[in-house]
């Protein structure tokens, strides 16, 4: 779960990380009020994508009136597909230098890793490796200073900033651990005069740990359809093609998309119906696919724990209740394959055994659909 900047900064502020004063606003009037309180401000679109600045999602204002105008401009704008619903009105910083610092998980070392750079303010993937300092955080690390000193020294910080940076870094690691984060990032971490202060902040929470953090405000992400499917408990990602896809298991679902692309088709979604799905969720999932109005629906099942007859029953249920108004290609092998195939055949649906053949046929159907 990604937190909006203003929420991330709230968590950091609570943890003792210096952040500028700021208020989240939903109207230009609120923005003007906030600026009247704070003084010269930045007005920042609150969206869950990076690169806001370049896309025009950040403005500056020295007066309340200017803040109102900036808020009016930004609120409601479309930033990389996301409509801006809120702006964060925040005290403007005089920036002497911009640093980068983040904490994330190193999958290989199975440890947290700190990354820092003296060249902040640009996306981390654009920072040259040679300017990046990386240090692992041992699981037994409990504030020992060596780690903080090494990072501060590694990016060339000296007094009076080094001590402040070290303090901030220790707090960021603390936030990561206490909040079950998967990313804590301050970019840029700004040097202004003698002070070090977080100008922007990202805080992503481990989805698997969100439930044990009732103190954090929930942020919904993704399209409306994605949210709806996730509520059923299924993994779903919207794509931009015209072939609706369902498979069981994340790997099979990915491989199914790849197979469609292999034959020149364009998948409309990723949908993992689960490794051991039964009739009900499978029917719900199929229901979603029908609702997407694709050119074709491709169901690719390798029945391990999933039983092919259950899948067949789910298909028939959906066809009987709401109908399936688009071509349907089914590939069905594995546990109870014979029963499943027989059930479908009795209803006039021919199932494939071979994944390649089924995927090719699916793509052909999608072309036919386009020609119609």
């Amino acid at each position: 779960m990604k937190l909006y900047e203003y929420l991330a900064k709230g968590v950091l502020r609570e943890a003792g990380v210096p952040v500028p004063p700021g208020r989240v606003c939903q109207t230009p009037a609120e923005a003007a009020e906030a600026a009247a309180e704070i003084g010269p401000v930045a007005v920042k679109a609150q969206v869950l994508v990076g690169g806001r600045g370049k896309a025009g999602g950040i403005g500056f204002a020295d007066t309340p009136e200017a803040a109102r105008a900036e808020a009016r401009r930004i609120l409601g704008m479309d930033l990389k597909g996301y409509r801006v619903e809120k702006v964060y009105v925040e005290g403007k910083l005089a920036t002497d230098r911009e640093l980068y610092v983040s904490v994330t998980v190193d999958r290989v070392a199975r440890e947290l890793v700190v990354m820092a750079s003296a060249h902040g303010g640009v996306e981390i993937e654009d920072v040259d490796e040679k300017f990046l300092v990386r240090r692992h955080v041992p699981i037994l690390w409990n504030g020992e200073g060596y780690l903080l000193r090494e990072v501060a020294r590694g990016i060339g910080l000296e007094a009076p900033w080094a001590a402040q940076f070290q303090d901030i870094l220790a707090r960021l690691i603390g936030v990561f651990r206490q909040r079950d984060a998967e990313l804590v990032e301050i970019n840029p971490l700004v040097i202004t005069g003698d002070e070090v202060i977080a100008a922007d902040a990202r805080l992503n929470i481990d989805d698997s740990a969100v439930d044990r953090h009732p103190e954090l405000e929930r942020v919904e992400e993704g399209t409306e359809l994605e949210r709806r499917v996730r509520e059923i408990g299924l993994a779903y990602v919207e794509l931009d093609g015209d072939i609706a896809v369902m498979a069981n298991g994340a790997g099979m679902a990915m491989a199914t998309l790849d197979a469609i692309a292999h034959f020149g088709g364009r998948p409309a979604n990723f949908l993992d119906a689960g490794g051991g799905a039964s009739v009900e969720p499978t029917a719900q999932a199929l229901d979603v696919l029908v609702g997407m109005r694709p050119r074709v629906i491709f169901i690719n099942i390798f029945g391990g724990i999933t039983r092919c007859d259950d899948v067949a029953r789910a298909i028939l249920t959906v066809r009987e209740t709401r109908g399936i108004p688009v071509p349907l290609v089914v590939r069905l092998v594995g546990t109870n394959e014979a029963e499943g195939v027989a059930l479908l055949r009795a209803a006039g649906i021919e199932a494939y055994r071979d994944m390649a053949e089924a995927a090719r046929r699916t793509v052909e159907e999608s072309r036919k659909g386009r020609d119609r």
């Binding site: 699981i139 740990a209 790997g251 990915m254 692309a261 390798f302």
Partner: protein
């Protein structure tokens, strides 16, 4: 021979009286797995599937010599269950649950390292030594004993591939599920040396996917192996920044792409197949 799991491995099932635990314990027993006990604090003292049910793993270790534990409890209780098994002295721990917080997995992993325990998972389908024993949730009927080792990040995809190998007359020595999470106990890098050392294994199939750098790391080892390695990598069509079902299957800020993995493995001498159905022919040809 085989890696990690043998016909004599004595297994305790944590959460044996739950819906999933009970079903799969039964499947394991039917396959020949030596399940010696189950754990379920609320049902302690009873018998389930003809094995004793205890309140703790320790009892299973002390009374029945359990050496391996498989965990079927909700994610929220998984860390406790894992610590319990490790503290009780098992040597192999298989974590089936999905949705474990990564910090929990890191703690479990570290505790396993300190006690010399082999951790498989979490979010894994487990591991199987065809014809001997299985410790997981995979369908039993698709495997045949044979010369091919499989290491997979994904369950169903590995079933697809195992079945196609079996259909082609290519049985499996050991099949191990890494698990679909960003942080897991055993990765390709941990398992490839076991496959290389296992006399039964003649070729290894890697089933990888987008996210992380496990495949790139594996490539470093593939370079030094004497046995042929065939790989299939899923997620070529996955967009950046989206989790593809597995918590670990995500391209983040340009890292974890399929291209990077394919390039590394091919440069190391592995045969990377374009589609899963090409695997069995590739293995056949690699075995000569």
């Amino acid at each position: 021979m085989s890696v990690l799991l043998h016909r004599d491995t004595r297994v305790v099932v944590q959460g044996i009286t739950g819906h999933q635990g009970s079903f799969h314990a039964q499947q394991m027993i039917a396959y020949g797995t030596r399940v010696v006990a189950g754990v379920s604090p609320s049902k302690a003292g009873t018998t389930h599937l003809s094995v004793p049910v205890y309140a703790s793993v320790r009892e299973a270790v002390e009374r029945d010599g359990a050496e391996a534990a498989i965990v079927f409890v909700p994610a929220a209780m998984a860390r406790d269950a894992a610590f319990e098994a490790v503290a009780a002295g098992v040597r192999l721990l298989v974590m089936i649950p999905e949705h474990l917080p990564v910090l929990d997995t890191m703690a479990i992993h570290t505790f396993c390292r300190l006690r010399g325990v082999t951790l498989v998972g979490p979010n894994t389908f487990g591991l199987i030594t065809p014809g001997e024993s299985k410790l997981g949730i995979m369908p039993s009927h698709i495997y045949r004993p044979g010369p091919v080792g499989i290491i997979a990040r994904s369950g169903t995809l590995s079933y697809e591939i195992a079945a196609s190998l079996s259909d082609a007359g290519l049985g499996q020595s050991s099949v191990v599920g890494m698990g679909g999470d960003p942080v897991v106990g055993q990765t390709f890098t941990d398992l490839l040396p076991l496959m290389e050392a296992d006399p039964q294994t003649e070729a290894v199939v890697l089933v990888g996917e987008i996210g992380g750098s496990a495949e790139e790391r594996a490539a470093e080892l593939v370079r030094t192996m004497t046995k042929p390695v065939v790989a299939y990598l899923a997620g070529k069509s996955a967009p950046e920044g989206k989790r593809m079902g597995h918590a670990g299957a995500i391209i983040e800020r340009g890292r974890g792409t399929l291209e990077s993995k394919r390039a590394a493995l091919e440069a190391a001498g592995a045969r990377v197949c374009e589609m899963p159905w090409e695997i069995s022919a590739a293995v056949r040809s690699a075995l000569g």
